[in-house]
Symmetry: C2
Subunit: 536 residues, 2 copies
């Protein structure tokens, strides 16, 4: 696709959407809107690159489009504080260099992660139900329910047009902590006339209605109450309602709560600071908890995804300094497995079963609920909003397609958008062109394009190793070969023969010869560095 | 656990099992049996290491136990030709240096992979129903049904004791090609008295009965018959019955068959050579197939696991030289996703949907069946064999545990065994000790222990890159830094300052200084090689 026409990039007559992360992929949500030369971004999340050299790497949306097209954002607005919506901020916000609008809980978590030595742009605290004028837009935060406190949809006005950006949401009549879903405000928006919804597609392939956090709280209580030994629950730390529910269960079952894992403590403090854990019992320190009788212990820990460094994996492998699981202990996985983590979770489960603990998962007890809308919820939202058009985002193509099919059955115009596509949102959905897009890999203090030649070199180093040969004056040879099981003597001898063959050593010829030799000897193609110091 | 007593290793009074691959893990099946100083091995398969440097690596069982304890095998016997049962042979058989017993189909596939320049030990062709005296054992191949032709269980006699080693199996009344399950022979074994079963646990957590290949054949026919455009089916190449069924469907629906993918052609030739594809229509070449009308094409291809280099992924990304998929083409995934491949398959599915093909999976049509026994089948087998004891293998701990629970409910004595544990099989199950075990990573022509320091170096190279500094006479500096985004000028300047500081350059001090500098500048810890050539 071509680059969009300049007049649309710099003075769009109608509001346009430009997703630079999150459309056609899971993670790294970063949605830009433009109208009459003004630009805002919604969310700025992190993602993962599974085939980074050395394993999984953290990624952030590439800002190439902004740099190449000279786009300056009027603001970055945040819907909620999940890492796939705010996690890129420590790496990108200073480069975006624009004010940020977020609610207190999100602000708390963002500040937690910023490097205090750097100067950051202004941070504005927003209040639900109030409208904020940002550039040529007017933005209102609409309370929704999700698996984290302070989740919001955004009503974005651009001239006469009204866009509803759903953020992550579900219909949860009792979300446990925080506000409920602003149903009547959504219905009012429907009466005003919604031109387009830009919406969460995560669970669009799933029939039915998501489970409420209240049901999960009851399920946890019912499951934990009769348990006789130590209870260990692993869940996403950001699910403050889940934490609150577990605090209540602990009190009801005369257990003391202990938290394990850095992010569990971080989110606990954020939840406490923002008033969401007022009734939560004071957690006792992991060091003290070990002295309690087993049946008085309830541990809440990180690591439900089988992350090897997180608390639960270390418990499962007996490597946690604070707690040693015993046979008969009850371990609850109050989470689902995020795609890509299946093997790690399988490893975790096997390790736990070997310890003869009683493992309880969401397969055999009601102890987890998704935070995203299933088909019935999507249908209800469209009944309330009566939108003319839908652009499904926040999902892979498969999810976007299921979302579009559902909406089209309700007579709503749909277009599937991919990262980098500028889409006109009114009076009809129209692709205007494509801009540079992709991800940057967080690599130490730097951000690298995943197709960088540097990463290819690192992949070669990983798979094939390195052979460094220095030939000094008088044909002295020094060989270094990290990562290769090298028969040094043989190579030395071979090199000497080459060097004594009469023709003067030539680095590029020597490199080719070494490459051939390595392939024959080891079946490997190491990266070869030849350093030839000429005779003086 | 301690090493087993010498007398058991060198002259076991009762038959013992020593799994060196496949017990407590998926893949790399390699089960040793010993009795009165005689040793045989059952199967010798490959596995995968997911966190190998550079991604997923092929592994084979480690032979450290055989080397350390001086064990010489009397033979290697093969149950069937799946890669997790024969795939380690090209790497290990010459080291095992013992005769091999296998049926023609397995032999065909094993020979396919051997390096003809090497001399290999003898290969004996076995016939079902006949007993073979091997060392102190007598082994009979018992026909079973599985997702590959010529699958066998093994009746292993050691003195008065009778062991039934199940191999991979299911109860399939119509397996499509090849022999059926030898039910009456199994019942006869039960009457003789089976001391112990060593058995497949893959589907032990799954209730019910596996689906028959015949039902899959009907499902494929019913699904494909009404389709209007090009049909592309991806399945495991070794499932010859599936190939045969697709050949029949092609003929019935007036389509020409084309095969795509190297292993598809390899298995087609093996199936043909062994008489399992006599009715299969002659496949036409991929080059010619493109000239046929779309509705006359049926392509059978590799790549159901989303392997990026396999045929289906290349079709999905438009990179296959022989075929370009068109909107409306029908793509059938006639396979399940092997754990660990979820993300790759998800990527494949999204890419296919983007092409607007009609995607049909085993979720919405009966087009795949598992090759392993579910709970009803396991129960039936134990009714036939009436074994006194069970050692569940071929599975992770979770699968072994489910298998043991099922058998214990039937009053069968059970012990879960892990790789490296020597287990006495009669008159009771008893762990006698542990021997060295693990996997070797295939690395070019070499085999490396996964905990080799070389691999750690390669992981560091992958994640952190390399910095090579050569300081020659007169403080000349040469820097090479593959894989690092390096500000050469700054580093040069900094190095010159260090070198001019007066104290003579010292490689190890310089290395520490460089490490610190890299961490401050880039947040990276590259592997640092310092090559200091002293002034003459």
């Amino acid at each position: 696709m071509k680059q969009p026409p300049d007049e649309w990039l710099h003075h769009a007559k109608e509001p346009c959407l430009l997703p630079l992360g999150g459309a056609g992929e899971i993670g790294a949500n970063f949605y830009l809107y433009t109208y009459q030369g003004s630009w805002i971004a919604v969310d700025c999340g992190q993602g993962f690159l599974n085939d980074a050299p050395g394993g999984t790497g953290t990624t952030v949306p590439s800002l190439d489009a902004l740099i190449d097209l000279g786009i300056q954002l009027d603001a970055l607005v945040i819907t909620h504080a999940h890492e796939d919506h705010i996690g890129a901020l420590p790496h990108l916000w200073s480069r975006l260099n624009c004010p940020l609008y977020a609610t207190p809980f999100a602000q708390h978590l963002i500040r937690d992660r910023l490097d205090n030595r750097q100067t950051w742009p202004a941070m504005h605290q927003v209040v639900a139900g109030q409208s904020y004028r940002i550039g040529m837009f007017e933005v209102e935060w609409i309370p929704v329910t999700h698996s984290i406190p302070e989740a919001f949809g955004l009503a974005i006005k651009a001239g006469d047009r009204l866009i509803y950006h759903t953020g992550d949401w579900k219909i949860d009549p009792s979300p446990g902590v925080g506000h409920g879903l602003a149903t009547s405000r959504l219905q009012a928006l429907g009466r005003e006339g919604v031109d387009v919804v830009v919406g969460d597609s995560t669970n669009a392939p799933v029939a039915g209605h998501s489970v409420s956090e209240q049901q999960v709280a009851q399920g946890l209580a019912k499951t934990i109450q009769p348990l006789e030994h130590r209870v260990v629950v692993s869940c996403f730390a950001s699910n403050i309602a889940r934490l609150a529910a577990l605090g209540k269960v602990a009190q009801q079952s005369q257990r003391f709560v202990t938290l394990l894992g850095r992010s569990m403590w971080r989110l606990y403090h954020a939840g406490k600071a923002c008033g969401y854990l007022n009734d939560f019992p004071n957690p006792i320190s992991p060091r003290d908890a070990g002295f309690l009788p087993r049946h008085e212990q309830l541990w809440i820990c990180t690591g439900s995804q089988g992350e090897p460094e997180a608390a639960l994996s270390r418990l499962a492998t007996g490597l946690h300094p604070s707690l040693e699981l015993e046979a008969g202990d009850h371990v609850l996985l109050s989470a689902k497995t995020i795609p890509g983590n299946e093997l790690a979770v399988e490893r975790l489960i096997n390790a736990l079963l070997r310890l003869k603990v009683d493992l309880i998962t969401s397969r055999n007890a009601l102890i987890h609920a998704s935070g995203h809308p299933c088909q019935e919820e999507l249908a209800l939202l469209y009944d309330w909003l009566k939108p003319k058009r839908l652009v499904p985002v926040h999902g892979e193509f498969r999810h976007q397609q299921a979302h579009a099919q559902l909406a089209m059955r309700k007579g709503i115009e749909c277009q599937i958008v991919s990262d980098g596509e500028l889409m006109q949102l009114a009076p009809t959905l129209q692709r205007l062109g494509e801009v540079p897009h992709g991800r940057w890999l967080v690599d130490g203090h730097r951000l690298l394009a995943p197709d960088s030649a540097l990463l290819d070199q690192r992949r070669q180093l990983a798979e094939q190793g390195l052979l460094q040969v220095r030939i000094g004056p008088g044909d002295t040879v020094k060989i270094q070969a990290p990562g290769l099981s090298l028969d040094l003597a043989t190579l030395h001898q071979w090199l000497q023969t080459q060097l004594q063959s009469g023709t003067p050593a030539n680095p590029s010829r020597l490199k080719v010869q070494l490459e051939r030799w390595c392939w024959q000897q080891w079946g490997k193609r190491p990266l070869i560095l030849v350093d030839l110091i000429p005779n003086e």
